[in-house]
Subunit: 277 residues, 4 copies
Amino acid sequence: MGSFKGHALPGSFFLVAGLWWTVKFSLWRATRRNKNMGSTRLASRSSQRRLEVIESAAALFFSLVGMLAEQFAAGGPRFRLYDAAGKHWELLMNWQHATMYLFFGLAAAASLVIHTTDAAPLALDRLVLAVAFFNEGFIFFYHLHGRSLLDVHVHQLLLYAVFGEALVAFLEVFHRGNVVLELLRCTLTLLQGSWFWQIGFVLYPPRGPEWDLDDHSNVMFVTMCFSWHLASAMLAVSALHWAVSCVVRSRLRRTPPMEMGLLKPRDQDPESEDEVL
Amino acid sequence: MGSFKGHALPGSFFLVAGLWWTVKFSLWRATRRNKNMGSTRLASRSSQRRLEVIESAAALFFSLVGMLAEQFAAGGPRFRLYDAAGKHWELLMNWQHATMYLFFGLAAAASLVIHTTDAAPLALDRLVLAVAFFNEGFIFFYHLHGRSLLDVHVHQLLLYAVFGEALVAFLEVFHRGNVVLELLRCTLTLLQGSWFWQIGFVLYPPRGPEWDLDDHSNVMFVTMCFSWHLASAMLAVSALHWAVSCVVRSRLRRTPPMEMGLLKPRDQDPESEDEVL
Amino acid sequence: MGSFKGHALPGSFFLVAGLWWTVKFSLWRATRRNKNMGSTRLASRSSQRRLEVIESAAALFFSLVGMLAEQFAAGGPRFRLYDAAGKHWELLMNWQHATMYLFFGLAAAASLVIHTTDAAPLALDRLVLAVAFFNEGFIFFYHLHGRSLLDVHVHQLLLYAVFGEALVAFLEVFHRGNVVLELLRCTLTLLQGSWFWQIGFVLYPPRGPEWDLDDHSNVMFVTMCFSWHLASAMLAVSALHWAVSCVVRSRLRRTPPMEMGLLKPRDQDPESEDEVL
Amino acid sequence: MGSFKGHALPGSFFLVAGLWWTVKFSLWRATRRNKNMGSTRLASRSSQRRLEVIESAAALFFSLVGMLAEQFAAGGPRFRLYDAAGKHWELLMNWQHATMYLFFGLAAAASLVIHTTDAAPLALDRLVLAVAFFNEGFIFFYHLHGRSLLDVHVHQLLLYAVFGEALVAFLEVFHRGNVVLELLRCTLTLLQGSWFWQIGFVLYPPRGPEWDLDDHSNVMFVTMCFSWHLASAMLAVSALHWAVSCVVRSRLRRTPPMEMGLLKPRDQDPESEDEVL
């Protein structure tokens, strides 16, 4: 994964995930707030569930693809872990990246089970997500031995986003549905995504001059640049949240709210059923 | 910003902010506690809102001024980031300070939107404040490379106040209106403000002898001095809180509370409306 | 304890404890969820109490055995702490391990008292457990002086599980009965157990070649290996939780739920009595 | 304060405080649990308040004495801070210790105001206590420059107790009256007290041979010794809690509970009044 593509790819995934989560949570908040205007059709509890299932299935699929790509793409270890002849480990980088995908796959699988059956407590989906992010940060943390100053620094900055996201997901176990935490998680996911791209541009500039990886003023610039990414992620989440809110409100105004009486009893039952741990 | 003025200026802002917040939160607590004496006129929910809007607008204005000053004041980078000819970054210090102002500006803008419209959840204003303080600490943290012992130490002590304040603001997301947390935040803001002045006096003494920046006994004195600033901030907040409480109570005693029956229904509606996340 | 057995033994204990806790908490959750199907017979509050008492007694017994084994097994210090003649401490390793057992013994004793009498607040059993795990991590943390790179690293990884478990147990003081936290504790206990075995295999390979304890690629492999242990522990807990749920549900279906009316009043009384702090 | 007495004195204060707090909280819990047996006479809300006031006054008095002793006892700085002639700080150690006392004095004064007037929110007494302990740890943390290995280590271990206690007191802001946290605070206070004595014995042995302050096996023993102090503190708190519970219960059994009907209304009013923040 030591390449521009190797950083752009996960970056893109996190960007898509961050945007999607922002839309999802904004939509749910908007419909919750406009309940008395008949919005329940747009996001009833059962359609929410369906959405979660689709999301989990997609995440599971991409995690599997990621794992297989790390193993079988040009130069992958093909599930060989130790070269007994040469007495060295086979391509530990690829194995470590595959391990990160594995945990996101586990989180997706757990979420799938939680939202299709009721065998597991609902809050578990946030816990497995927190564990997946923690594991990503954990592996990155021990990943940096013997690299150059700037290389270590850009990855350390990434850890702020990763461990921050693990913490937020863990807090959501206790404060499920707290929209502030949800939007913070979206922000940190976007930050992670755009920062992966930035790492790619810094360490493997596709064109233009190389960066001096041991220059301290580069370190100082990159630190500030991380703040800018954070500000951009905050602005992006705000804009998207605002746009979704407007769209939901305008669509609701055009539909007559008179069917509300019919919808309510149908909708309340699944909700209360669902909130039982 | 490596000058006495460069530390005294943000110090003064934080001092003003800390005093103002103490007055605001003390006022609100006093009126909440004296509700049955007709105090609702002094701080009804709508006047609270107006206050928040004015405060946010002022904070936004000063953040913009700060950013522009860092860019255009004598020797500023004037939005040039990289000197391609000389192959070095332009005045990273100024850019970093402008980035700090940017986040306080974002927090103020978010607070403005939250308190004028109801597009965003109320608790978000504390989260963006927490992010702004976190960003300040984050940039300071990576700001200290290659400085002398005492210089590093006084800035590290500042981080206790900054990160402490970020943490308190984050806790307020979940415990909004908890007066203990609010007063703690006021204390830490005052501490930050007075400590900025102290840093100015230590590193750029306006008159008198220079400090030996590598003497360990100076480090020990400065540590203790930070404790004294904390104690002073606590005393200042206590005194102000007590004064405001007394003023509110004495003013309420002089006004007949008979209009209470009229005020109550008008006042309860906005309150309950507002507390919906 | 510097031997393969010395790591396999505590590892086995933690594995058994992790599996047992998973069964216990899954059983209680399953019966709680199926209350309206007459499941209260399977896990009434009084039988829960009896289970806790038996568990605590067993833990107390094994802690005592562990302490005595560390003192009197071949080469133990036999309660001699300081060799005044040779001017050195006697076998500090054994004393340290005995101290770890002591805290688990204290936790078990406290749990025994809490569940047999009502002299102590219920939540205390989680606190003493948290203290026992904290103490284990605390002693390990200062245990690693002057060892080789890999030796230090495998023990540091263990600390993630140990301190993580201390934190989870402490959170349970405030969120008692939160099944997500309980399952996380089970997972971390299993992780600790299997990692003790792994440490044994790495540091004292019973057969096969020795590991190079100063090779950095071994460190990187071992880090990833810890993630795999975590994933395995998560899968094991999930499988066991699912199996227990299925068994409880199928057994309940075969029993007529008509006696429920009789059971309920008898069962509610102890429950409410118990929940008084 | 670099002497045996200088450590034994604060140690004794913390031991007394820890024992006293254990008795106080155990008494309150016992009376709360036995409310329906007429125990309200033993610990009504107003007598609780009186107790808090006396305790705060005593703490304030001893803090003042401590501060003055540090300043004026043989060789104290007598409020001279800087020796302009010799260009060095005067006796920073004494000043630092006086600063620690100052914060405990502030905490006591705040508690006094909180429990005699209702100007300040009730939870503030825990916050100022947390700040006092944090300040103690903060000053100790920067206190250890250039000392020998064992000297640094025994003071670092003290920080676990001090910062732990600061954290527990801060948590009590949100979980006031949680008996588990209260007993944990008592335990950590006792631990701190007995560890001060231990530091005195290690660094300034009143008789017998000196310790080798750079021997690593001494470090390992001392670490374990800290665990033993913790275990002893837990046992002491448990024993005292149990004894107080027994005494309260036996005294209540001898008094007829018939006056309960009279006491209840008088007692509930102050309680509800008090719990308003």
